[in-house]
């Protein structure tokens, strides 16, 4: 067991982990932050996405020890301290960008990165960016709509409420 220390959602945390402990397991079991979901265990689905030093990372594919000294943000760190939803979160809620919700934390984390590098993405940009995020429920339509809305674009033309 080795000690790992990092900044998690703005707070310093540390814990003992094995060399092989995945960041996802450290977050879920070590830190009780269960919003990071395990959907596939093998880096395919994107349910476990978090930000490490501002980069989008599949936490099922990174060792906890690799996050030593890093700034890690999970879905639990996205809303404001008083619980106010971020623009992206609110758009997913408002535009029905979720059904079972299991993919949602990963979708929100992925969208945050997209809008950072491309504040007004086209539909094609969104499709491209979400290549690593699987949603089995929604058919993606409302997810795209939510992302367009979150980036301040008009979604009235995107059919169907």
């Amino acid at each position: 067991m080795t000690k790992v220390s990092l900044s998690l959602n703005g707070k310093p945390v540390s814990g003992k982990v094995e060399g092989r402990t995945l960041l996802a397991d450290f977050l879920r079991e070590g830190q009780g932050l269960t919003g990071t979901h395990i959907g596939c265990d093998t880096s395919q689905c994107g349910a476990c996405l978090v930000h490490v030093n501002g980069d989008l990372v599949k936490s099922c594919t990174m060792f906890a020890l690799e996050a030593e000294g890093c700034e890690v943000t999970t879905i639990e760190g996205v809303a404001a301290g008083d619980g106010t939803l971020s623009g992206i979160q609110d758009a997913f809620r408002e535009h029905h960008g979720l059904q079972c919700g299991f993919c949602t934390p990963g979708m929100v984390m992925s969208t945050a990165e997209l809008l950072k590098i491309n504040p007004k993405p086209s539909e094609a940009d969104i499709r491209d960016h979400l290549e690593g995020n699987i949603c089995r429920c929604t058919g993606y339509h409302n997810i795209i709509k939510a992302i367009m809305a979150a980036s301040g674009q008009d979604v009235s033309g995107i059919a169907a409420e």
Binding site: T36, F92, C100, G101, C103, P105, G139, N142
Partner: protein, 762 residues
Amino acid sequence: MTVGTPLPHDAAALHVTGQARYVDDLPVPANCLHLAFGLSTIARGKITGLDVSAVSAADGVVAVLTEKDLPFENDVSPSVHDEPLLATGTVHYVGQPIFLVVAQSHLAARKAARLATIEYAEETPIVTIDQALAANSRFEDGPIVWSKGDAADAIKNAANRVQGSMEIGAQEHFYLEGQVALARPQEGGDMLVHSSSQHPTEIQHKVAHALGCPMHAVRVEIRRMGGGFGGKESQGNALAVGCAIAARQTGRPCKMRYDRDDDMTITGKRHDFRIDYDVGFDKNGRVSGIEFTQYARCGWALDLSIPVADRAMLHADNAYDLPAATITSHRLKTNTQSATAYRGFGGPQGMVGIERVMDHIAHNLGLDPLEVRRTNFYRDMTETPPTPAQTTPYHMEVEDFELNAMVRELAASSDYQNRRKRIAEWNAGNEVLKKGIALTPVKFGISFTLTHLNQAGALVHVYQDGSIQMNHGGTEMGQGLFQKVAQVAAHSFGVDTKLVKITATDTAKVPNTSATAASSGSDLNGMAVKAACDTIRERISDFLMEYYQADDVRFEGGQVHIGDKVIRFEEAAILAYENRISLSATGFYKTPKIEWNRVTGRGRPFYYFAYGAAVTECVIDTLTGENRILRTDILHDAGASLNPALDIGQIEGGFVQGAGWLTTEELVWDASGRLRTHAPSTYKIPACSDRPDIFNVALWDGKNREDTIYRSKAVGEPPFMLGISAHAALSDAVAACGAAYPNLNAPATAETILHAVTAVRS
């Protein structure tokens, strides 16, 4: 007015912040143990030696259980007790659980599960439909046959005839949250189980049998699933029972979660089918007689295969009035995962069969397939019902057909005719890329075909502060059931949905529930909750009328109007409480009108039908078989929708999942019976980029003719079959490559399309 409002999913705010809890997220005591199954590595044979000493000795292992260690019943089957939790001397598929490891951590359990020494006397497995037929390996004694009229005679006397056969692949559910259960021992030997299951009562039932206790000693609680799609109707039994037995033996909480690989290897999938057809028709394509032979690959145990295969037969007509039809169904037993429920429950396979026939007839006559479809449609129900009565091949009268009008509207709104012409011109000028377009309808029967399952219960409390707690037997898997039913409850009391607390499904609150399946969730539970709310509201009304000496009471806008007097709902609640009026009630509902005899194949298995239609346009690359869906337009009938936003979400998601089944999602078993596609790296479910470039979805403006909850219609499964339009469009594109009929199998992967293109060209 809360019913009919497009409110967001009830847990949306929890989902976007990561606070929504799934079973694996529940806080557990530090002494919780973790389980994993040791799996068979062969598809068929006898276990001649099982040595688990290395498993027991592995780091972190607390116990290893084999069938001999099970205290009571060793069975997790939802039907005929043919599915042991742990293998009893013989194994029937690669991935069958043989022993159970109980360890300190998930990882320790999984690592140890690989350490057993198992010796087998291997036998040749039966993997394919042909092998099963050759070995006469089947469930039930022989094929099931239902018929109407003399189909053979009608085919013989018809002006035209085509015959064909189509392979239709299986489908993995890929619920994003894998199977998981948690059992927590209680005092006096009771057991509390949290399970990601669509069927809490069955989990309760199976756990009780496995622990040798009455059902009252087992409580099952389910707040939500991360997707179900039918894959959590029976496939969660093994995990829940395993956890309960281990929890009983160790006295500690026990949890089991399948890794994705294990999940895909162990659990059942959609049945794959072969459908043979022989059809006679006139020069307009009007069918006079048809014979279908359906072969369903059911896997090693019965599970739900009988009702699934029945439903495939019940949808062999889809939207078409078939004057004479014979449908024969073979339920074949193979050494593969036990195929199980999956959205549509056999209906999609049956429907693909008849849609293929419509395409084949049109190709044979050189007609637009849509014209052939329309020629064969049932007649729309109008003020004057069609005479003579129109009946399905199972002799049920079709009393609510509306696809003629729906298809007229959809063909117009999607500009089908002009686009079809433009596509033909475009194809004439393009050698490499070819486009196709198709409009396919859906008529899906709503009700469980096992009549007694069509019942539901609810429990509603109004607290003295006016807040309301609602519970029913339905489970939430993302479909928005809880929100829709909460809207029904809020509507009953004329209050905002914020006043209504939605609670986890709990066998201690509502007993003897049916699985949340057959799209019946809001139909059944909505009605049961409404009945409970009505009871309480009437008690409050009666009391208030007497108290204020008034003649009428209305609940509206958060207020209660008693004659001229207006008080807030909260005030009414406390007043009623103080005057000793009971503010708690149960509700019950059973679906009327249905009766069904599956032996004779006659009756009314369905309360009503849900309808929909989709037009899909796609393009293929004839050099590689690669393809894209360019545009899809959908018109779907949800009756008077309880929540249009949630219903449209079901339609979009259902279409994409249905199209995935018939295009990219390919499950491959090798000759030894091993599933080779057991992870998303090799099994391609639709990604964001696979959804149609243009995607227009609209709800048909109509009401259910039957007296359902606020005249809405079930919407969970029917839209799945709109995905058939994608397959038909691909077939249309392939047909543009040559003169022969494409005979396109499903899934129409790039390879399959390439083969079909090569075949029609030569």
